[in-house]
Symmetry: C2
Subunit: 132 residues, 2 copies
DNA sequence: ATAAGGGTTCCAGCCGCTGGAAGCTCAAGT
DNA sequence: ACTTGAGCTTCCAGCGGCTGGAACCCTTAT
């Protein structure tokens, strides 16, 4: 099948698929006319990458996961190690964002939001703390 | 003061400060020898940007906030609008990551993580659901 | 005199795409 | 048979937000 069809079936834009081929993540056969030719198994791999990316794995991590996916003899422990590390990264990211949310939410709460130039958000950002 | 001192006092690397000047976010005076020369007020602005960036505002948003910061007559409503939108973005990001966390956590939980090639994480990523 | 530790400029690269130009091929309609 | 339009190919450039490195200048201490 052509790249457009593979794109529709995998949920990845054609541009992205070509890019993945460019960086050696996934290869594709070529038809006689020079068009890329994708098998169902290729589409499986594309979907695999699509899901992995959308779960927050980097392209390099996808490369690892893909080789584990392709290697029928890999130990599940290898995969688990990658996924567990990713989980920890996500937890850190959530904690960081929650901290931000709290600080920013606090600033917004204390801003009366009218036409007066007095603004706790600006003051907070500028580091000049006020007495609340 | 020189860029290195301004960097230390603002918490931004010199490279980043030069970059900000490059994109017209902040300007600096020049000393006779061609070195950038920062006033205390400049450092305030640098810190302001540093804080805003670390709170998740984009450089473009920092540009807006900075002009509101500099403009003593601005309405606090303008600032509040930007901050509130940012808050919503952060909430969306947290929700998204929480979803990821749940899905990935689920996969990791069900992976026995031993030497067997059978791996629910890989299966989950490949979209072939099993009956767990 | 010289060496270290600033500063300056500019150019290139990181990630993960994405847009656009120029040209080819294919399928359908007239 | 010819045209049109969609889809394919390649390559080059740019996004955001820095960051590293090269090559050079300036200042200060020994």
């Amino acid at each position: 099948m052509n790249i457009g069809t593979a794109a529709r079936q995998s949920g990845l834009p054609p541009k992205t698929i070509r890019y993945y081929e460019d960086i050696g993540l996934l290869t594709a056969d070529r038809a006689a006319n020079g068009y890329r030719d994708y098998s169902n198994e290729d589409v499986h791999r594309l979907r695999f990458v699509q899901r992995s990316r959308s779960l927050g794995f980097s392209v390099e991590e996808c490369r690892q996961l893909l080789s584990l996916y392709t290697d029928r003899d890999r130990a599940s422990a290898d995969v688990k190690a990658i996924a567990t590390e990713k989980l920890a990264q996500i937890d850190r990211k959530i904690a960081e964002l929650t901290g931000l949310r709290e600080m920013l939410g606090h600033l917004v709460e204390h801003c009366h939001g009218d036409a007066r130039p007095d603004c706790p958000i600006i003051d907070g950002l500028s580091g000049r703390s006020r007495d609340h």
